[in-house]
Amino acid sequence: MIQHVTNPVLEVHDLTVSYQRKPVLWDVDLTLPHEALVGIIGPNGAGKSTLIKAIMGLLPLNSGYVELFGKPMAEVRQKVSYVPQRESVDWDFPASALDVAMMGTYGQLGLFRRPGAKQRHQAMEALEKVGMQDFANRQISQLSGGQQQRVFLARALAQDADLYLMDEPFAGVDIATETAIIELLRLMRDAGKTVVVVHHDLQSAQDYFDWIILLNMRLVASGPTNETLTPALLEKTYGGRLTELSRVSELLQKQNFPIRETKPSRK
């Protein structure tokens, strides 16, 4: 079930990506609509993060192309924002929350200009949106996991883009933070932005997203949530992996019981 849209905000065409000759994404072809909250769902190792990185142009593509707003990435960089996984950086780095948020404005500055009062203001506004204004001068290692995640979001907000690609923004955050973040993402969607989120929790996916991409190396489905989160398609996505399969059936039995795929923490 792969549904295409006309005039898409993002078009991924016949995309194949591999790490050292081993394909991680195989022939992924999808389009995403404007003003949508999109969830990328699939088991571990399904290539969810790889898909986002490939869209951002951070990985070499074996075949296919990616177009955003009908143009190649290089032409629309300002309109696209990327939130990497929280564990991808060293949080002991000598930087404050405000410093990190301000990095979101670097793209508009060009080669020589330095961030000034305007950029500082933008960064503060972004921190306020994620409720981190009181921690602006706090060193980033002294923030909790959820607060660090919110700082990352603030950095993306400071960029003021139209399309946001987020790699597991809900990993390792508590339920209060998760609720706050999803509220923020909804506001962004209502303001006309498209937000693409790599997500692990099948149960909440139903409530959070209006469009779902089911991925397991190949694209299993891409379409409105109620048409994609079906038992048949989920089984196709998680099939062959017994634990996941049982979890899926468990989910279908106990609709209200939240299932969380926990990742081992690095530290």
Binding site: R77, S88, L111, F112
Partner: protein, 295 residues
């Protein structure tokens, strides 16, 4: 303070400032030992430059050394990226191999080369005032080294102040930098080029070991004292300058090696920061276990 002492301390301070500025970015990238690698890897470059040109003129030597220094950083990045060797292993394998190549070249051409590895590794900062730059008219402009190192420092200051944000972002989050269109490899190579330039300009007068000590010691000390990169740069520059002045007088008092004394002071500074740093020090951590637990 006589004039010779002034020149020696000034040389030490110029090297210290250049090295500790770059060192801050290196230790944050977990590539502190790149300075070590470059300062060793220049040996074959110097030997080859000598064999091809037949002269021991300073500029041919520096060009040979700089070429190998840059080649060394390319190799490190190549092994790290293409073969997935961890960065520290990649650094280690590259420079030991290149340094060994230099030693073999020296031993094979021993009769023709008036060089030895000791002069590369240890240098001698105390001889700086001997190599005076005289103009055609016979005017004394002070030691040549001071002018070379001063020029390098000006280049570094311009580089870091103009491109602080790029260096900052590519050190912290390369993926995000690439996503907003800041090329991580471009800034990696520019930084490594700056490290090569500094190392090559400095090792001739102060020796490779002191270059390494200054590139890692003061930044590591500053890292323990602050949580802000700008302050870290300033503190590490301050530590470097203090170390070169204090080291000179320690050497004078002991009648020993100046480079050795400077390195010892750097070590002492680090130990002091390690014990007494208000945020990361042993004493502060003892006194505030609750704060640590919260963090």
């Amino acid at each position: 303070m006589n004039l010779d002492a002034f020149w020696i301390i000034l040389t030490g301070a110029l090297v210290a400032v250049s090295c500790s500025l770059l060192g801050c970015f290196l230790i944050l990238r977990r590539m502190a030992m790149v300075g070590d690698a470059i300062s060793h890897a220049v040996l074959p470059g110097i030997v080859l430059a000598f064999l091809f040109s037949g002269s021991r003129e300073v500029w041919t030597m520096l060009i040979g050394a700089a070429a190998l220094g840059v080649a060394c950083t390319f190799l490190i990045e190549f092994f790290h990226k293409k073969a997935n060797v961890p960065a520290d292993a990649s650094i280690g394998v590259t420079f030991t191999w290149l340094f060994a190549l230099g030693i073999i070249l020296i031993s094979v051409y021993a009769g023709k080369v008036d060089l030895d590895q000791d002069c590369v590794l240890y240098g001698e900062i105390a001889y700086v005032p001997l190599d005076i730059w005289l103009t055609e008219a016979g005017m004394n402009l002070g030691p040549r080294t001071v002018w070379v190192l001063g020029g390098v420092l000006v280049i570094l200051l311009v580089f870091i102040s103009l491109f602080y944000k790029q260096l900052y972002l590519t050190s912290f989050d390369p993926a995000f930098a690439a996503a907003i269109g800041i090329s991580t490899s471009l800034w990696y190579y520019l930084l490594m080029g700056a490290v090569s330039l500094t190392t090559v300009a400095a090792f001739e007068s102060v020796g490779a070991i002191l270059v390494v000590a200054l590139m890692v010691g003061p930044p590591a000390t500053a890292y323990l004292l602050t949580d802000d990169l700008r302050k870290m740069l300033v503190i590490s520059v301050g530590c470097g300058i203090i170390a070169s002045a204090a080291g000179f007088y320690l050497a004078l008092w002991l009648n020993g090696s100046v480079a050795g004394a400077i390195s010892v002071i750097i070590g002492v500074q680090f130990m002091l920061a390690f014990v007494f740093s208000p945020s990361h020090g042993l004493v502060a951590r003892r006194r505030r276990p609750a704060v640590l637990a919260e963090a």
